[in-house]
């Protein structure tokens, strides 16, 4: 694996495949969800960012899964000094170190650009070392290599593991490290297999913004709630939807409660049952548990709507980076809390995870310009059939628009499918004009007259 392109693909694949195969388990599920194995290796989960330490002849860097360097020269020097001739790709968690305090990923973000800050890396996996690749199940071999390579450095070190024999031991360790010392969670590894990510249940207070009915197809029972956080007093960021955790009684009562506070919206948020949420006055607060929270997925950064609430109506302001909850469960209404920055503000999310940076809004689109247009008509039995051919220049940004569009209309008032459309796109003017000519040549036969 020598080229940077190959390396970037490998580390991206690692993030999408292996990193996502950690089995999430709540702290109260250790006894039931962690498989019964002969031996476990546990370590404290570091709350930082996934990083890759790359050492090849022509590529030496410490980067994130997109291949972007963290720009910490002292760490790169330390890595190269430590790893020596050992070529390969190692996987770690880069974090902001504070003595006697737990790690927090948002602090990494703050401190990364401050060259005086103490940033370290806990190395916990190997993708390739000395031309040898490893599978998930090769933990014992990998552990040996990691311990021998990264044993001497304080800045870049092999993550320490404790060997335990039972799930009861894991529970005790979880209680001590997480419940008492407030660490983020535990990583529990089986010798030849699964890796569990054990975290305490995350608990949030969110504003209820909408609801749908239809649980088990019964229109009198609540099916789902839509919830969000306050960005300002009357501005909300959508976070997600929840459909479990309700008793039948909850479902009945909430329908009659929310029916009375329905409001209008000029935007549709869709529920899991493919109908829009009926929006409600953002006055009620729900307590919601989840086993995990993410700010990006394989499709990229998670982005959701920002809604303004004014004159009893929601309107969409824009899309903004947001999060998704894994396995959210409704715990109850919080009558003691209200929709406010203090009770249901963005802090509900940011205390647990960073939000991604907002992308610069695309500039307003200039008006499209028609470059070619031809119209043909054919008359048959008193009805006029029409074919239209267009090419236009979109004048839109690269991300959202092609440069040119070819469009064709085929209308026949007596045909079953009366109005047919065809579309092709290109960034090449030559190509799109060629497509235009070719389509006219193949579709316009005798009997058609050009207008």
């Amino acid at each position: 694996m020598n080229s940077l392109i190959q390396i970037k693909k490998t580390i991206k694949d690692y993030k999408n495949l292996r990193a996502s195969r950690y089995i999430p388990v709540r702290g109260d599920e250790i006894g039931t969800r962690v498989f019964e194995l002969d031996k476990y290796y546990i370590s404290t989960k570091i709350d930082g960012h996934l990083c890759f330490l790359i050492n090849y002849k022509d590529n030496k860097l410490i980067c994130n899964y997109n291949g972007n360097s963290f720009n910490r020269n002292e760490l790169l020097e330390e890595f190269l000094k430590t790893v020596g001739d050992n070529e390969g790709v190692f996987v770690g968690e880069i974090f902001s170190y504070k003595e006697n305090d737990r790690t927090r990923s948002f602090e990494l973000k703050k401190h990364l650009s401050d060259k005086k800050s103490d940033i370290r890396i806990g190395v916990f996996d190997i993708i390739e070392s000395q031309n040898e690749t490893f599978s998930e199940n090769d933990w014992i071999i990998k552990k040996k290599i990691l311990n021998s390579v990264f044993s001497k450095s304080e800045l870049i070190f092999a993550v320490k593991e404790l060997e335990l024999k039972s799930r009861k031991d894991i529970q005790n360790e979880f209680n001590s490290r997480v419940n008492e010392k407030n660490e983020e969670g535990l990583i529990v590894r089986g010798e030849s297999g699964p890796v569990f990510k054990i975290k305490p249940t995350l608990n949030f207070d969110f504003v209820i913004m909408g609801y749908v009915v239809g649980y088990t197809d019964d229109p009198t029972l609540l099916k789902e709630l839509l919830f969000g956080v306050n960005l300002e007093k009357d501005k909300f960021l959508i976070i997600g939807k929840v459909s479990s955790g309700f008793s039948i009684d909850d479902r009945k009562k909430m329908v009659s409660k929310f029916e009375k506070i329905q409001v209008d919206a000029n935007i549709i948020e869709v529920s899991g049952s493919k109908i829009p949420f009926t929006m409600v006055d953002p006055t009620h607060v729900a307590e919601i548990d989840a086993i995990d929270i993410i700010n990006s997925n394989t499709s990229g950064i998670i982005s959701k709507s920002v809604l303004k609430f004014k004159n009893k109506e929601y309107s969409k302001e824009k899309n903004s980076p947001s999060v998704s909850l894994i396995s959210p469960i409704f715990k109850g209404l919080r009558e003691d809390k209200k929709s406010s920055i203090e009770d249901t503000g963005l802090n509900q999310i940011s205390r647990v995870i960073d939000l991604n940076e907002e992308k610069e809004a695309a500039a307003l689109k200039k008006i499209s310009k028609i470059i070619c247009k031809e119209v043909y008509v054919k008359e048959m039995k008193g009805a006029k059939m029409v074919k239209k051919f267009f090419v236009w220049e979109t004048n839109g940004d690269d991300t959202n628009y092609p440069k040119f569009v070819f469009y064709q209309i085929d209308y026949s008032p007596t045909r079953a499918d009366k109005l047919k459309r065809e579309i092709k796109v290109s960034n090449s003017k030559d190509q799109i004009e060629q497509i235009f000519k070719q389509n006219i040549e193949s579709d316009i036969k005798s009997g058609w007259n050009k207008i």
Binding site: I23, F35, E36, L37, D38, G190, P194, V213, G214, T216, D217, P219, I268, V270, S273, K274, I275, P276, T278, S299, K365, I367, S368, I370, V375, V377, G382, A383, K384, M385, V386, K388, F390, W392, T394, G396, T399, N400, Y401, P402, V405, Y407, I409, Y411, P413, T414, K418, L419, R421, I423, V425, I451
Partner: protein, 235 residues
Amino acid sequence: MIRYIKIEDSNNRDAELTFKSVRTGSTVSLAMENGEKPLSKKIIKSSKEKNLKSLLKKNDPSQEDYNNFSEDLISKDSEIDFELFGKFIGKTERIYTTESFDPVFNINVTEKILNPKGEVIEERKPNYLNSNISGENIIKWTKKYIPKMKLYNKVVLSSKYQIKHVNGLTYDFLYNMAKDLNDKNSFMMVGGGKGNDPLVFNDGGKPFRGFLEGRVKDKSYCLILHISNQEFKGV
């Protein structure tokens, strides 16, 4: 998400295991002559406002309306949104609308039962089935061994799930089950509920009959749950 399943063996002991559908993907991919893979993009081609009935401003246009529309097309370009059509789009959400594409906030769902000729014989409230393979449910060993030679051409075993062990104990459990079935060259019919019910994999899903097949090779095994909802029957 990892999927769990509890299965019982011939001694009525059960264990919690994991399972995953078995599926072989495409072995051939399409690319250009030079090997470059094309990018697939979704673009907007039409919209609710430019739908024919919306352009005619009628829910039930007459033939005369359709005939007259030809003149509109000749003189104007109102059937095209030059700013929207051609735009790349990412994820969209499915939503129920009326036939004139207005969003619907409350729906009533029924189902029509059609006979093999396609004639409606009944309309009723949908029969909602809860999953009987998840949570505390145990898939039962019915003790009905069915030789492979007798079943393979009788029912369509359309989909397969592989059952997997999670530790040494469950390895033994599944290996023994697979060996038993392998040695008898038979399927074991399995069921939900007390053992006679078909299997429902997801809440709101449909029922299927389940048949376990076991294969062993030295110390390794595979235990496959085949599911079926059709016989080999001609029309």
